[in-house]
């Protein structure tokens, strides 16, 4: 197909309805075996056809072509000769029919069909990896985990997708892979290469010794060191390089885990051969866990701990991850904890690793046996459970979610993103001396003119620091303060600007290269949305057996006899902050929350966890109901059961919320025969307009402000105690996050 005909085909395909006999995509395109100069594009069609990929750096001019001439429903087209660290757009054709277009955007307006080659190995390019384990249920929870990650990162999408195994329950069959892996993640897989490891459920139908079965047929993984690392000769275990990180992927289920076996011999050679700054290893069975599996009792875990971990630590590994155990666990900084059963022996830094807590973990660059973090992330979509608390783990959380890894210069940040959007753990590992920004660190919202505290931590003596603010994702920087003591905190007045691309940077005055910036963008503005009613807010509640009175959900109601507490409310699950009365079990529980709306509201978004029935009233008017079709009577139970801690997210009409005082009244109903009940909620409000300047707009005097300062005055005007002055642009130019 010529270039012109590709453009014509793209246009025609976008304009015309698909013919009825059209070839269909069974598996949308996904990226495999990426490297600095190559990528393999894989897809499956409903019929045996040939395949063609058109690609280029300009989405309107796909000037290069790669083809697969074999007629087959499974297509794998390897593209070579690419430029490192470059984004390409692509279109996929089968039988001359356009199946994937570079013009397609996902629901978040992100282009779907792109691929980006690896940055050069050894270069400390910032990047992000998404880590998921034990996800392949095809359930709503699996999708919520994915969506929570996408909401967290915004446009700063992960560059890599690392899967820790068990991606297609229950047996890793071909259909299960299609329905529970390729389909739910299609819009991520199309632009983010996935690097998997075999889980035991895939092992039911795939065979590492034979390299057969749906796992090995679907994945194209390096065997000859094609993506960095040493040739392993098998797809069961392999390694690859990305920027300055060396990733090692092992098979903890089917390959020989004994010293002297092929896998461990290869591992010793591979880890000894890498010069990369960071080393990350992952496999399905983690060395330390007390989740749904016990690493002191099960052979695979014990082998990985006793045989593999010593090799990894002697080779300088920084992070080791596994799934299998359906829980999130993150360790202290460890070295040498090889014994069975595990004890607390081996903890070399017993802090929390948090910037705003005990500070980051630290190790010297290039050191071996100097400490590694261990993460169990088997919480990607299946039922979660913890059987205890492992002595080497700082945190254990049996709640679904996934993990983000952010590598930037000498820092690795590990973030656990729960399915409900809560960031329940963030740990930082720093190599050498460094500054690490703790707050705002991404995702926060700040109202202009408000007093806020910038927080950071430093490792080693870095001297005084300079603080900078960017409203355009780091394209330009404004000085907040030119020099302040490295004491980890600085109070400032949030500038009068409206931007979703705000970043803070803190850098040593004398060695700015050791500085750090917010891990992701935060919001400054008045529009919001603001979660003015967050999870775990204080509510009045009524859990007595008797009815609280007909007007319980009205503003003018005396709730002084009600009790007060913070969510989550309920009983029977063990995760409640307030345990409600349940002897005897009664069908209805009531909650009230008063609040005042000060500005015009354009949108309201409510999220609630509940079990089993839920009705939400605003000033007595019904706004939301779930499982309440048997009515709102006090003695009536929920009409249907919910899932445990079911999460709903839905809009409420802003017409309910005019300026003034309001009350949210919530009725939660028990279902006959159920032994648990739950309720908590958060509400986000979006306000109608902002008085603040858009980022990049010409500065003008703000309310009560001193007038437009010159650029040289901007920094001091942002510091606390200033007059809440204005933001001026642009000053320093810094690198952009990839």
């Amino acid at each position: 197909m010529t270039r012109a005909s590709v453009l014509v085909a793209l246009v025609v395909a976008l304009l015309l309805p698909a013919p009825s006999e059209a070839v269909e995509l069974i598996r949308r395109p996904y990226l495999q075996k990426t490297s600095e100069t190559t990528v393999t594009l894989v897809w499956r069609t409903s019929e045996a056809t040939t395949g063609e990929v058109h690609y280029g750096t300009d989405p309107t001019d796909l000037d290069q072509t790669a083809t697969s001439d074999v007629e087959d429903p499974n297509h794998a087209v390897e593209i070579t000769g690419l430029t490192p660290d470059t984004t390409y757009y692509y279109a996929v054709f089968s039988a001359g029919q356009l199946l994937a277009s570079p013009a397609e955007l996902d629901a978040r307006q992100h282009p779907i069909h792109t691929f980006t080659t690896h940055p050069p190995a050894g270069e400390p390019t910032p990047f992000r990896a998404w880590v998921v384990g034990d996800s392949g249920t095809g359930s709503l929870r699996q999708l919520q985990v994915k969506d929570a990650m996408l909401n967290r990162v915004g446009p700063d999408r992960p560059d890599l997708f690392l899967h820790l195994g068990d991606m297609a329950y229950g047996d890793g069959t071909d259909d299960q892979f299609t329905e529970r892996f390729y389909r739910p993640y299609a819009e991520i897989l199309a632009n983010t290469p996935v690097w998997p490891t075999l889980g035991n459920h895939e092992g039911h139908t795939s065979n590492s010794a034979e390299q057969t079965g749906p796992y090995y047929e679907g994945y194209f993984l390096p065997t000859a060191g094609e993506s960095g690392g040493l040739p392993s000769g098998t797809e069961a275990y392999y390694s690859f390089d990305y920027a300055d990180v060396h990733f090692i992927v092992l098979d903890s289920y089917e390959s020989d885990r004994n010293p002297g076996g092929a896998m461990l011999t290869w591992l010793e050679e591979d880890i000894a051969a890498t010069d990369q700054q960071w080393i990350v290893a992952y496999f399905h069975h983690p060395p330390y866990t007390k989740g749904s599996h016990d690493s002191d009792r099960e052979r695979e875990h014990i082998d990985m701990r006793e045989n593999v971990t010593p090799i990894l630590e002697a080779g300088g590994v920084d992070l080791v991850m596994g799934g299998h155990s359906h829980v999130y666990e993150r360790s202290y900084l460890l070295d040498g904890a090889y014994e069975t059963p595990s004890t607390s022996f081996g903890i070399i830094d017993g802090g929390d690793g948090r910037i705003l807590g005990d500070g980051p973990y630290q190790k010297d660059p290039g050191a071996t046996n100097a400490g590694a973090l261990y993460v169990t992330a088997g919480h990607g979509g299946t039922g979660v459970r913890a059987s205890g608390e492992h002595p080497l783990m700082y945190i254990t959380e049996p709640i679904n979610g996934s993990v983000l890894l952010d590598f930037e210069q000498g820092r690795l940040t590990i973030t656990n993103v729960r399915f409900d959007g809560v960031i329940s753990d963030t740990a930082v590992l720093v190599k050498g001396r460094s500054v690490v920004v703790g707050a705002p660190d991404g995702g926060e919202k700040r109202r202009p003119g408000g007093l806020d505290r910038i927080r950071w931590a430093s490792t080693g003596d870095v001297g005084d620091v300079r603080i900078l603010f960017s409203c355009d994702e780091g394209a330009t920087w404004e000085t907040v303060v030119e020099r302040t003591a490295d004491d980890g905190r600085f109070d400032w007045i949030v500038p009068e600007v409206e931007t979703r691309n705000a970043l803070i940077r803190v850098e040593p005055v004398d060695e700015p290269e050791l500085g750090d910036r917010s891990n992701a963008r935060f919001y400054v503005g008045r529009v919001g949305p603001y979660e003015d009613l967050p999870w775990q807010s204080e509510w009045k509640y009524w859990d007595k057996a008797g009815h609280p009175g007909e007007r319980w959900n009205q503003i003018y109601y005396d709730d002084s006899t009600w009790q007060q507490g913070r969510g989550e409310f309920g009983y029977g699950d063990g995760d409640e902050n307030v345990e409600l009365a349940f002897r005897p079990v009664h069908p209805s529980y009531y909650f009230r929350k008063r609040f005042t709306v000060a500005d015009d509201i354009t949108a309201v978004w409510m999220r609630a966890r509940f079990d089993d029935g839920l009705a939400v009233f605003v000033d007595g008017r019904l706004a939301v109901q779930v499982n309440m079709s048997d009515g709102f009577g006090h003695d009536v139970g929920a009409s249907s059961p919910s899932a445990d801690n079911e999460l709903i997210e839905l809009p409420i009409s802003p017409e309910f919320f005019d300026v003034g005082e309001h009350v949210l009244g919530v009725m939660v109903k028990q279902r006959a025969g159920s032994i648990d009940l739950s309720f908590d909620a958060s509400v986000e409000f979006t306000f109608s307009r902002s008085a603040a300047l858009p980022c990049g707009a010409e500065a003008r005097p703000g309310p009560g402000g001193p007038g437009t300062p010159g650029c040289e005055d901007c920094g001091s005007s942002l510091a606390a105690g200033g007059s809440g002055g204005l933001l001026l642009l642009p000053l320093l130019v810094a690198r952009r996050r990839r």
Binding site: T137, E210, G233, A272, D275
Partner: protein
């Protein structure tokens, strides 16, 4: 975030929620389908395999008896029967079934060949050879080589390692095995070529530079060996600046000693 102090309570009470589909679920589904179609051979075979994986070899054998009633000569029944006997610890019966299966089919399952090799030392080499011909892997190639080495057939072992390495994308484990065996029997130019193939992947690999020096020494090329050791020493020092490790320190010490200086 839930504070760590709260965790033990939460852990003990955390709801298991809806667990993923595992073997029990698969078996439940298969039970229903077998009940609906009791003469479906494929279903019976699938359930037999699932029962075996679920540590119910007796149940698997029951299904296989039923399957044999439908298709007495289907080789899939025999192999599954062998594996089920193996799972219940009846090695003799497993060996008999697997032998019958391996004699019957032209391209047998690799796991059946490996299982038969485990049970039958007399045919181990032949079984593994046959498995490698079907689907080579580093594990199988190493196993064949070890059998050959144990039998004193070093030439065949080295040759096998080399052939497998070429076949499997230059797997370093196999190249190193070939070099090791070559050196045991007296290295030659092919040994040096094997080391060079490794160095083509990582030219500054200190261990492989040192290995090349050792091979050169064994080939009587002392001057070249000495030069190679200096190159290895420089590579070790460069690597130590980047990432210090006990292994590298040991390599350095060995090189210094070999070069005639005190460590």
């Amino acid at each position: 975030m839930r504070s760590p102090a709260l965790i033990p309570l939460v852990l003990l009470l955390a709801a298991p929620a809806s667990a993923h589909e595992g073997l029990p679920k698969t078996l439940e589904r298969l039970d229903a389908r077998v009940e609906a179609s009791p003469d479906d051979l494929d279903l019976l075979l699938r359930r037999a395999e699932s029962r075996r994986l679920a540590r119910d070899p007796e149940g698997a054998l029951e299904d296989l008896r039923e399957a044999a009633r439908i298709a007495p000569h289907d080789p899939r029944i025999e192999v599954e029967r062998g594996l089920a006997h193996l799972a219940r610890g009846d090695d003799d019966a497993a060996r008999r079934s697997l032998r019958r299966y391996l004699a019957d089919v032209e391209r047998p399952r690799v796991d059946a060949l490996v299982a038969h090799a485990d049970l039958s030392p007399a045919t181990e080499l032949a079984d593994i050879e046959r498995a490698i011909a079907i689907e080579p892997s580093p594990d199988l190639c190493l196993r064949r080589g070890r059998v050959q080495e144990a039998a004193g057939d070093l030439a065949a072992a080295a040759c096998g390692y080399r052939a497998c390495a070429d076949l499997l994308g230059g797997a370093v484990v196999l190249r190193l095995a070939a070099v090791r065996v070559d050196r045991d029997r007296g290295p030659n130019d092919a040994t040096l070529a094997e080391v060079d193939a490794l160095l083509a992947i990582r030219p500054d690999h200190p261990g492989w530079l040192a290995l090349r020096a050792d091979v050169l020494d064994e080939l009587g090329r002392g001057d070249e060996a000495r030069a190679e050791r200096y190159a290895a020493l420089a590579a070790v020092d460069a690597r130590l600046r980047r990432r210090a490790s006990t292994r590298l320190e040991e390599q350095r010490a060995a090189l210094v000693v070999a070069l005639g200086a005190l460590p």
